[in-house]
C-alpha cells in the first residue's frame, strides 16, 4: 500500500517554481494507479520523491510501510523505477544491462527470469545488440525488464508510453495488466488521457495539484455538464459558428466530432435546426457520454 500525505516540492533560487502543492492519495495493493496530466504538471517530481531520488519540502510518503525519506535504502530494494528518459547504459548490450541491474540487487537473471519472461522474450533475440542501437519499442521493453529483475513490490513508471505509437502503447498496457496479476502495485504516469481506462484508479493532475482522484468511471460519473457531439462536413467552420452561440459554453474538436457543453435550456433538435438554417445541411447533434479528456477539460477550464 502507498500512503502519500500533503507533499510539497518547489525549485528555483527563491523556491518560486512550485512543482507539487500538497498532493495526497493512497494506492491499494494490486492496483494500477495512473497519474494523468500534461507535461509540467508535477508528475515527474512526484515520482522522483516516491523513488527516493529527491526530497520533498514537506509531507510524507509511506510505501508498504517504509518512509521514502527515512527508509530510503529499503525503498530502493522494494521499488522498480523506470524514469521518463531512457536511462540504461547505451554502450552495454541488452543482456549486459539486465545482468548489471540483477547484480546490483544481489540476484541473477535466472533466479527471476519468470518475472520478465513475457517481456524479455520479445527482445532476447537481440540480446547481444548494444542498448543504444535498439528501436524505441525495444528500449522500453528492456527498461521494464531491468526495473523488474530484482522482484520489486512496487513499480513506478514515469511516462512509459510518451512518443510511443498507439499499437505499441496498447501492447505495453497489456503487459502491465499481466504484471498486476502477479500482485505488484503499479504507479504509472501519462499525458495520454485515453490510457486512463487501463488503470484501476486515476488522479488528474494539473499545476502541482490533484484535481480529481477516482476510478475512471467515477470521474466520468461525476461530470456535471450537458455534453453533446456535433458532426458534419466543414468542421472548422462549424466550430466558429458554435463558439458564437450564446447558449454554448465550450466547443472543442474531438477527432471527427466537436464536443460542446451547453446551457440546460437548449434542445439538441433546436441546435441542429439552427445549424441547418446556417447552411450546414448535413449536420447532426446528439448527446454523448464524456471521456476522461472531457472531464479533464471541464475541471481545468
Amino acid at each position: 500500500m502507498i500512503e502519500v500525505k500533503n507533499l510539497y516540492k518547489s525549485y528555483g533560487r527563491a523556491d518560486n517554481i512550485i512543482a507539487l502543492k500538497g498532493v495526497s492519495f493512497t494506492v491499494n495493493d494490486g492496483e494500477i494507479f495512473g497519474v494523468i496530466g500534461p507535461d509540467g504538471a508535477g508528475k515527474t517530481s512526484l515520482f522522483r520523491i516516491l523513488a527516493s531520488l529527491i526530497l520533498p519540502d514537506s509531507g510524507s510518503a509511506i510505501m508498504n510501510g517504509h518512509d521514502v525519506v527515512k527508509d530510503y535504502k529499503t525503498i530502493r530494494q522494494i521499488i522498480g523505477y523506470m524514469p521518463g528518459r531512457f536511462s540504461l547504459y547505451q554502450d552495454l548490450s541488452v543482456e549486459e544491462n539486465l545482468k548489471f541491474f540483477a547484480t546490483l540487487f544481489g540476484t541473477t537473471i535466472e533466479e527471476n527470469y519468470h518475472l520478465i519472461k513475457d517481456i524479455y522474450r520479445q527482445i532476447e533475440p537481440f540480446k547481444n545488440r548494444r542498448a543504444g542501437a535498439l528501436s524505441g519499442g525495444m528500449k522500453q521493453k528492456l527498461a521494464l525488464s531491468c526495473a523488474l529483475i530484482h522482484k520489486p513490490e512496487i513499480l513506478i513508471l514515469d511516462e512509459p508510453t510518451t512518443g510511443v505509437d498507439p499499437v505499441s502503447r496498447k501492447e505495453f498496457w497489456d503487459m502491465l495488466a499481466r504484471l498486476k496479476e502477479q500482485g505488484l502495485i503499479i504507479l504509472v504516469s501519462t499525458a495520454y488521457m485515453d490510457e486512463a481506462g487501463r488503470c484501476d484508479r486515476i488522479a488528474l493532475i494539473k499545476e502541482g495539484e490533484f484535481i480529481a482522484t477516482d476510478t475512471p468511471q467515477g470521474i466520468i460519473d461525476n461530470y456535471s455538464g450537458v455534453l453533446w457531439a456535433v458532426q458534419g462536413s466543414r468542421m472548422s467552420v462549424i466550430l466558429h459558428e458554435l463558439r458564437a452561440h450564446h447558449l454554448i459554453k465550450s466547443s472543442f474538436a474531438f477527432g471527427d466530432k466537436i464536443h460542446i457543453t451547453v446551457d440546460e435550456g437548449l434542445q439538441a433538435e433546436e441546435l441542429k435546426q439552427y445549424l441547418i438554417n446556417k447552411n450546414f445541411e448535413d449536420v447532426n447533434v446528439f448527446p454523448i457520454e464524456p471521456t476522461v479528456e472531457d472531464c479533464f477539460m471541464a475541471l481545468t477550464n
Binding site: 500534461p38 507535461d39 519499442g137 525495444m138 510511443v164 499499437v167 472548422s236 481545468t300
Partner: protein, 245 residues
C-alpha cells in the same frame, strides 16, 4: 488543379543493408494539412529528413517547395519551416530574442523582424511576455510560440514532428486551430502525431508500415475503406502487419 508543394516518387533510403524508407511515392497540395502517420520505426523520421533536405535519398526523386531534393536541398531548407516537440526554441533566450534569431536565420531584415514581432506578439496575446525567458513559459505557450516562429518567414510548407506530445488537452486544440489558420493562409502543413483524434483534423493522412506507405487518403475515406468508425482502428489494422520493430 491545385499546386503541388511536395511531389516525390520512389524515394528510398538505405542504411547498409537496412531499407528504412522503401520506394515511397506521394504528393501534397498547397494549403493542405497532411498527416504523416506510422508506428515507431516505420521510417517516418528518415522520410521527413529527406523531404527537409537534410538527408540524401539512396534512390528516387522529388521536389519540395518547388526545389529538387537532391540538387537544391540548400534552397529547400531556406523555404520550409520546421518544428518538433524535442527542438523548437532556445530556452535561455527571451521570447523576442528567439523570434529575432529565427527571423535572422531565414534572412528577414531588421525592419521586417521588428514589425512582424509586434504583430505576432499581439496576435498571440503575448505582449507582456516579450522579455520572458522561454524556459519560464508553460509548455502549451512554448509550442504556440514555436509554431509561430516556424512560420515567421511565411514558408510554403511547415514540417511539424509530434508538435503536441504531452500538451494539455485544451492547448492541444488551440494549437490545431493555429494549424488551420496557417493552412487557410496557404501554408502547407506536414504533421506527424501519435494522437489518432488529431489524424481526423488532417485533409489527408498517409500511414507508413515497414518503410512503405500502406494507405493514403482522407480520414473519412480510410475509415470507410477499413470498415471502421475510428482512425485508431485503421491504424491498428495496418500496423499489425508490421514485421520490424
Amino acid at each position: 488543379m491545385r499546386k503541388k508543394v511536395i511531389e516525390v516518387s520512389n524515394l528510398t533510403k538505405k542504411f547498409g543493408n537496412f531499407t528504412a524508407v522503401d520506394h515511397i511515392t506521394f504528393d501534397v497540395d498547397e494549403g493542405e494539412i497532411f498527416g504523416f502517420l506510422g508506428a515507431n520505426g516505420a521510417g517516418k523520421t528518415t522520410a521527413m529528413q529527406m523531404l527537409c533536405g537534410i538527408s540524401m535519398p539512396t534512390a528516387g526523386e522529388g521536389r519540395v517547395a518547388g526545389y529538387d531534393i537532391i540538387k537544391e536541398n540548400e534552397l529547400i531548407k531556406r523555404n520550409i519551416g520546421y518544428m518538433s516537440q524535442k527542438f523548437s526554441l532556445y530556452e535561455d533566450l527571451k521570447v523576442w530574442e528567439n523570434i529575432r534569431l529565427f527571423g535572422g536565420i531565414y534572412g528577414l531584415s531588421e525592419k521586417e523582424i521588428a514589425d512582424k514581432t509586434d504583430e505576432l506578439l499581439k496576435r498571440l496575446d503575448f505582449e507582456q511576455e516579450r522579455d520572458t525567458l522561454v524556459k519560464y513559459l508553460p509548455l502549451g505557450w512554448k509550442q504556440k510560440l514555436a509554431f509561430s516562429v516556424a512560420i515567421f518567414h511565411e514558408p510554403k510548407i511547415v514540417f511539424l514532428d509530434e508538435p503536441t506530445g504531452g500538451v494539455d488537452p485544451a492547448m492541444r486544440r488551440q494549437f490545431w486551430e493555429m494549424i488551420y489558420d496557417a493552412a487557410d493562409r496557404g501554408i502547407t502543413v506536414f504533421v506527424t502525431t501519435h494522437y489518432m483524434d488529431e489524424a481526423e483534423y488532417c485533409n489527408r493522412v498517409s500511414i507508413m508500415v515497414d518503410g512503405h506507405i500502406e494507405a493514403l487518403d482522407s480520414p473519412a475515406a480510410l475509415r470507410q475503406q477499413f470498415n471502421t468508425d475510428s482512425m485508431d482502428e485503421v491504424f491498428r489494422k495496418l500496423a499489425r502487419k508490421a514485421e520490424r520493430f
